[in-house]
């Protein structure tokens, strides 16, 4: 019998790691990777709440599925953006894509 706290702690840690990745990676693709980690941690929470709550209430699973969809959409668009940026600016380093300043 695994207590709920384990899952929550794990997902919190995963979330923080993803956050770190998003904040600190240079490469835009890597930033997206971090976002994926965060989404997954959210999913873990959703599913574990489903399991530890009333399992006849499907909300947890349903929303994690919707998170899947959102993640897929986000990756598709994000990577498309990255690629087109690479085509124009010939770099994917987030710090070098700083036209929006001054």
């Amino acid at each position: 019998m695994i207590p709920l706290s384990w899952y929550l702690t794990l997902s919190a840690a995963l979330f923080s790691i993803g956050l770190f990745g998003v904040l600190s990676r240079k490469n835009a693709v890597a930033i997206l990777l971090g976002i994926e980690l965060m989404l997954n941690s959210v999913n873990i929470n959703l599913v574990s709440f489903w399991r530890y709550g009333d399992i006849t209430q499907m909300a947890g699973q349903v929303f994690s599925i919707i998170v899947f969809a959102v993640a897929a959409a986000e990756v598709a668009v994000g990577l498309a953006l990255v690629i087109s940026v690479y085509r124009r600016r010939n770099t994917v380093i987030a710090d070098e894509i700083d036209m929006m300043k001054w």
Binding site: S16, V29, I55
Partner: protein
């Protein structure tokens, strides 16, 4: 310390370790591959949580589609095989502090919650979670609307991605 707990600990260690590799490793392809390990671990967690459908879907969508997409993107956005120089920006220590703060804050708030350490009700045998999920996804008094909206979102993302990445020359 039951076998379940052992499995959980192992999987959790794998997940966290690989996640750390994802955000720290210098080689992007490796980062993507480590991400796949993480995703696989998460799928195992789903299996532990008796959400078999989600476990499989996790593998199909994340590993089968998203991760491979990532690898493609990595390959498409580089000239040579290795990335040179540090992969973390100069403020990485600050990010680390913030991440730690977030983690600490989350745990701090969570542990003040009464049900934090609750145990699961044991899973009824022959409980058809997949069927319930299917019904919940399409029955009008449940989640059919969010579901459809999600599908529309996917379509929009599809079109948008094609449009954005289209090579106008």
């Amino acid at each position: 310390m039951t076998i379940m707990q052992i499995i959980f600990l192992v999987v959790g260690a794998v997940i966290l370790g690989s996640a750390l590799m994802v955000v720290t490793t210098g080689n992007l392809i490796h980062a993507a591959l480590w991400l796949i390990v993480t995703l696989f671990g998460v799928a195992v967690l789903y299996a532990l949580l008796n959400a078999s459908f989600l476990a499989v879907v996790q593998i199909v969508i994340y590993i089968g589609a998203i991760a491979i997409l990532f690898i493609f993107a990595v390959m498409l956005t580089r000239k040579e095989m290795r990335d040179r120089g540090p992969q973390l920006n100069s403020a990485w220590w600050l990010s680390a502090i913030i991440a730690l703060l977030t983690f600490g804050g989350l745990i701090w708030i969570l542990q003040s919650w009464g049900d934090f350490a609750r145990l699961p009700a044991d899973f009824p045998t022959g409980f058809d979670a997949v069927g319930l999920l299917g019904n919940a996804l399409v029955s009008p008094d449940a989640f059919v609307l969010p579901f459809e909206v999600a599908s529309v979102l996917l379509l929009a993302a599809l079109v948008g991605a094609v449009y954005v990445a289209f090579n106008r020359k």
